[in-house]
Symmetry: D2
Subunit: 331 residues, 4 copies
């Protein structure tokens, strides 16, 4: 499978490595708005630099991986679909709900293999949790608790363009909740604060939030978000049910343990997503290639991106208006 890479930034480089290492995939070319970034990455893999136009026009290219800036996603997705190319797009599709829906309309008219970059669904541990859940290990699912904290707050200028905490950060947890629930969310209730960095509050955003979800059958989800955890990337999930509880825990570089006068010390969690989800990125590309080959849907698709964005939208309304928001108000 020949894959063109759109976007040669940090996450683009991660995907380039995964494509290149995959036995059945091949990095065909690189494209980027910044020629320097494109040239450097292309040189590293010995592949040509191409324009987006040429990529979508090329008969040689089977799929595109969109890792460019968020505002370009919808356009690239639609062009890929119209060109009949498989596409793996970094989340989000778009920060605007209407624009996202329009994009999904185009995708519906031009059906191609379309994967969305909800990387966490591909994490080996969360994957094992999902499997155990479906195998009935905890009986009937009742509650999900997701703890998700970034190591450091982003710069204020990032916050401004990010769409805010819910659309930028919580969206991963909202998708995880929906995926684990296996049924639609019907209500969203939020409490939030700006506790980490006043600059975030001045930019009109919050940095600490508790998001409660309720599903169609009454299952409950608690998401706890913070823009800063001094000890690293805090990524835990607990699912609780009639027969027990399953916990996905933080990963560490090694399992070395020290015992001294200060106590029994284990390593702190891995620092951020590039370390924590290194394997997930590899598996994500693997799922994309296999889905294309087998003509099946990838583990996460455009529809999942819309669903998570709707929840983020509901969360924002709930936070602003101080009330439970029904998803029926959004859809």
């Amino acid at each position: 499978m020949k894959i063109a890479l759109l976007g040669a930034g940090r996450i683009g480089r991660v995907h380039a490595r995964a494509i290149s290492d995959h036995p059945l995939a091949q990095l065909a070319c690189v494209s980027d708005a910044f020629p320097e970034a494109a040239n450097s990455l292309a040189a590293e893999y010995g592949v040509p630099v191409m324009t987006a136009e040429d990529i979508f026009a090329s008969a040689e290219i089977d799929g595109v991986l969109i890792a460019s800036s968020t505002p370009t996603h919808c356009d690239f997705l639609e062009r890929a679909a119209r060109a009949g190319k498989a596409v793996l797009c970094e989340k989000p599709i778009d920060l605007d709900l209407a624009r996202t829906r329009h994009c999904l309309g185009v995708l519906a008219e031009h059906p191609v293999t379309c994967a969305l970059g909800f990387n966490r669904r591909h994490d080996p541990q969360f994957s094992a949790l999902k499997q155990a859940l479906e195998a009935g290990r905890i009986g009937e699912l009742e509650m999900i608790t997701i703890t998700s904290r970034d190591p450091e707050p982003p710069p204020a200028e990032y916050v401004a363009a990010s769409g805010g905490l819910f659309r930028d950060m919580s969206i991963h947890d909202l998708d995880m909740a929906v995926w684990l629930l296996g049924e639609p969310v019907t209500e969203v209730t939020v409490s939030g604060s700006c506790l980490v960095d006043p600059a975030i509050g001045e930019a009109g955003d919050l940095d600490s939030a508790l998001i409660n979800l309720k599903s169609a059958s009454g299952k409950l989800v608690s998401i706890s978000n913070s823009r800063r955890a001094c000890y690293g990337y805090d990524q835990r999930i607990e699912v609780f049910g009639s027969q027990g509880m399953l916990e996905a825990r933080n990963e560490t570089d090694t399992r070395l343990r020290f015992t001294g006068v200060e106590g029994v010390v284990e390593e702190r969690p891995q620092w951020f997503f590039l370390e924590r989800y290194a394997q997930a990125y590899v598996r994500e590309v693997g799922d994309f290639v296999t889905a294309w080959q087998e003509g099946r849907a990838p583990l996460a698709g455009a529809q999942d991106g819309l669903a998570a964005l709707e929840l983020a939208e509901a969360a924002l309304i709930s936070y602003r208006e101080g009330r439970r928001v029904l998803l029926s108000e959004i859809r």
Copy 2:
């Protein structure tokens, strides 16, 4: 310190043992509406059975421990205060807010050493957590996560008289939140469901809840409650702040660990409150005795009972009306 015990039921027996084992306290007598219960416990400790009247009238008795049924608490508290006796009363003061406030008025007029049975404040682990928090171990406190699940749902007839999930069960977690926050709660937001036992729903109550609190300075609290956890009494607290996180974890009978084909197996949490909080009950009586001797306030008093009941009241309104409830609406 000579202490009379009002109530010879299960929890009364726990207190009798703690009083009897305390080097500076003495079980003076036992009283109970059921003569058999009173006789049996009194015989065990070689102390007389007395009526409540005689107890409050006796010049010999320094303090009373109220472990009788909830509807008797206010009356006994007020009589103890009027008789100038120190009092340790099981929670709650009353299920009704107005009645509780009236009782606090009487206590204000007749100041005595008055302790309320929020046993968890005396748990060695939570106590160490509170101390570490105050010592600045995690920097500035930002979020508290309390997981609190009973092993088994109570019978439907208990539920009916209990005041419901928030007043009966969550009230312990609400008090813990307030105690750890060290500042007033201003907002309450709740999501809830009946997932464990339909009979609880038919009795007009819920059995699964997520309670979010926000404090005056914007700190956030998430409480997760369930009336049933098949693996035992799930009692965990996590406090998160600018410099790190502290976790109080479930206790087990021993630290024995087995490794076999099925994995690495440690013991499940202790079954219920009598095991989990055994040390807390002993320390609670110890704190009561010392507070009386030193003329200082006990670790938990009547005012804390009122504060927790107000939060339970707010939680109930939030659940019913699907909105954020301000504490200023209750007070």
Copy 3:
């Protein structure tokens, strides 16, 4: 059961508390070579000070607890047996093998309830391990690994009188090994060093040792001893068999856990035996009282003291001569 206490030192005080708290036992009197120690402890419990003579002559006294200095043990044991009194004696019976055997001869002629203070057999965790072992949890037992390290080396003058590492410290681990094996040890092989404190080496002793045992059926035991562990009392046991492994782990004051930039930190092990085996001392007295009442043998008796001393003797020979020592050489 009326019990006289011989020896009012540190460990005597622990036993006095356990006797006094036991519902069926009573501290009858205290005796000590130092009148001040005896007076002070006797006053604390409101009991008389008595001489050893009067104690053994008194018809009122059912049992004696020997917590006096090691050289007095044999004499007191023999007098107790001759006087027909139940006896709980701190370990060791004596540091000399011949003297110990003679004492056992006297005990055989005057059979009384005789318990030896191998406190670890009464530890709740080791007790649960022994039970699981006997219940077949790990199938056929094959190997035992005992880690046993003191927090701090004793003063050189203590070392001189202690009988050396094997008779003073390892003896507890040797007894534990025999108890868990459930069959006789036939071979002892030792490696040792003086690594902690040169003064110990100058006193002719060692402070670090690896003791290997082999039992009649070929089971293997590894004991690792050190006179100093900066993090506290290191007391772990691992038993390994055909169906798995069981581990008894170090105890901590609480289960509180901190996560910060320096890692995930749990408490270090409890400092020394008074903390670690607090419950074991209580249960030891409980077993003594029950054994006396029921006329059965206590969990550890004089014969166990001899067996452990023989192993310590074999260990010393193995260390000095650099060879495997057969127990048949000792017995």
Copy 4:
């Protein structure tokens, strides 16, 4: 660096993958006594099959990786050295001490980059432990405890040709001990049994052993070996010193944890060396390539192979003769 692979069996395939994935190395060709094995692996990587003769004669080839059967190792090592090719050889060099020494003589005459496959030195966790040890984390090293158990006993025919427990299995632990000690071992003392499989005993070997080492400065090492652990590959190391203790613990596939009526269950250790040391094999090839490029010695070389074999030899004598064996007797 163009590397020829000698041996296309299970471990050869692991090395082929590592060479192929390394950015600076290239799998040049494959050789195997069984043409089918060679053909299949060569086809997979699109490289030619070559004879050993042609490989050693080829000017194109920079290095050889010897993963053929043990009896071929010395011959291939010597031919590689004489041909001036870098060589990474699976352990052991040979099971015979004299033959091994002769081989080292040849290597000394023809110095090439020579790495020996002590894979565990490259394990990320043991590597981190070694680094922490050298950084002084535990102060002065005093004791090392190595637990090393295979999941299943090998077939009896394997045992016969393996050189026995010490030369085949313990040799890895003996090398680890020497590497961590950082100083020569002077004494070996062993206790052993046949507890797992009588067929092993009938083949004249043992399957369970405790090996104690003592180093020049008196440091102690305890190695615990078993040919069978029902729960998987048990690979743990504990180093203990004046300032604390470091533990390398078993690895699991994920950190998922289940809590139910049966307790708190984590995954059992990874099954065997291919899973447990997957990363170590990759890093081993990486170290070999870098050592060749930089002209430095690899992390483990032929001399380390000899040192470990001498210890295995001493262990065998100690086991058979029931005595402490001085390394001076062997060297």
